[in-house]
């Protein structure tokens, strides 16, 4: 035990207050709120919004429901991402429900190919909606990374994937209001770039972990 005692001594000596922990749900909600506001503002500033989108939200219950489904999926993904950065905070049921909602949200658009929620139309088409989706997601993703780094993600890859997906799904969802409504277009140019952000986040994290590991080996 003396080996452990020496370590405990070194860890406890001159212990500095670490401050009270953040409320993880509050942190996730704050991130989500600011990120959503940012996406909406940037989308409005950089291009016109589909003129009849708000009326459609009011008059088409299925469109409202699928938008709410998207909001629920994004909220749970964000919550899971932040919880994944705290040891023991992410439960299996939460991750299962989150995955289920994401799949359901995407399947809704696949079903829309055969039975569209709204009459497919080119009205409101934005020229570079796929690029917009990708780039609008980048600042929220970086913000989520910075928050996660201040926590203690035991599985950084899982945290990064969830954070990237939450960040990517935000503009992917809002493009249904900002851009044209046509299920194949939505899947190809809104959803796919949104999901790509999640996998890009995963790739960046793997690269960073590899660099960190090789740095440690060199230091040894």
């Amino acid at each position: 035990m003396s080996k452990h005692n020496a370590l405990i001594d070194s860890l406890a000596t001159d212990l500095q207050p670490s401050g009270r922990s953040w409320n993880i749900n509050l942190l996730a909600s704050t991130w989500l709120l600011f990120s959503a506001a940012y996406v909406v503002i940037v989308a409005h500033v950089l291009g016109p919004i589909r003129p009849e989108a708000i009326t459609q939200l009011q008059n088409e219950p299925r469109f409202l429901l699928e938008s709410l489904l998207g909001i629920a999926a994004i909220t749970l993904t964000a919550l899971s991402a932040f919880r994944a950065a705290v040891p023991g905070a992410l439960s299996r049921p939460l991750i299962a429900v989150t995955a289920g909602l994401i799949v359901l949200w995407i399947l809704n658009y696949v079903a829309g190919i055969y039975s569209p929620t709204l009459a497919p139309s080119m009205a409101g088409k934005r020229e570079h909606c796929s690029l917009e989706t990708f780039f609008y997601a980048t600042p929220p993703m970086i913000a989520a990374f910075l928050f996660a780094r201040r926590l203690y993600p035991l599985q950084p890859a899982k945290t990064a994937l969830l954070a990237g997906l939450a960040a990517g799904m935000l503009p992917a969802l809002y493009m249904q209001i900002a851009c044209m409504y046509e299920p194949v277009h939505i899947l190809k140019f809104h959803i796919l770039p949104g999901l790509t952000v999640g996998f890009a986040a995963l790739a960046v994290t793997f690269g960073w972990l590899k660099l960190r590991t090789s740095g440690k080996h060199q230091a040894q």
Binding site: H4, L7, I8, L11, A12, P87, G88, Y152, L154
Partner: protein
């Protein structure tokens, strides 16, 4: 008996939570007390799950360092044990993955014939640790030979009569299975 155990369980939970909150405020004495208790609990937990392996002490130390680095993430409105054992499980699986035969060089260089006669050691390895013992035979053999007995991949593969890549797959799956079992395992 069960009532007494539950009361002790709850008392530990509450005391560790209080000590950690105090440590978050910078109280050295409480932190020392907490880490001292946790080192014993973690050592006991690991020894009973994966057996008395030579790297358990290192694993306990890694866990204590991780607890130190993650202490700001503990939220006193949540239970302490899930927070702690998420770290312990992660470090245990990490140690199993990284464990590259820390046996001495002479032991490493022993011939395969000697290994053949050293089946008693292998059996001891298999018998140690409740979780390792409950792995399917293929996985148990693979993880025991490589991570406990300390054979190289080539040696263990030859011993089991399978290819090296098949052995690596078995070891990988065994570790994944162990992780799942540890997650499902309650203290």
């Amino acid at each position: 008996m069960a009532v007494t155990e539950n009361a002790a369980f709850a008392a530990d939970e509450e005391r560790w939570s209080t000590l950690m909150v105090s440590a978050q405020a910078g109280h050295e004495g409480d932190y020392r007390c907490l880490l001292g208790e946790l080192s014993e609990v973690v050592l006991h937990y690991l020894a009973s799950r994966i057996g008395p392996q030579h790297y358990l002490d290192d694993c306990v130390q890694e866990t204590l360092i991780a607890v130190h680095q993650a202490r700001h993430t503990y939220d006193s409105s949540r239970r302490f044990r899930p927070w702690l054992f998420a770290i312990v499980r992660h470090k245990a699986v990490d140690a199993l993955r990284k464990n590259q035969t820390v046996q001495n060089t002479a032991e490493r260089q022993r011939s395969f014939e000697e290994v053949e006669t050293g089946n008693e050691q292998i059996e001891n390895g298999v018998m140690s640790g409740r979780l390792i013992n409950s792995l399917p035979l293929d996985y148990r053999e693979a993880i025991t030979l490589t991570k406990i007995v300390g054979l190289s991949t080539a040696e263990a593969a030859t011993h089991l009569g399978i290819s090296q890549s098949a052995l690596k797959v078995r070891v990988h799956r065994a570790i994944s299975k162990l992780r799942q079992m540890m997650e499902a395992d309650t203290l």
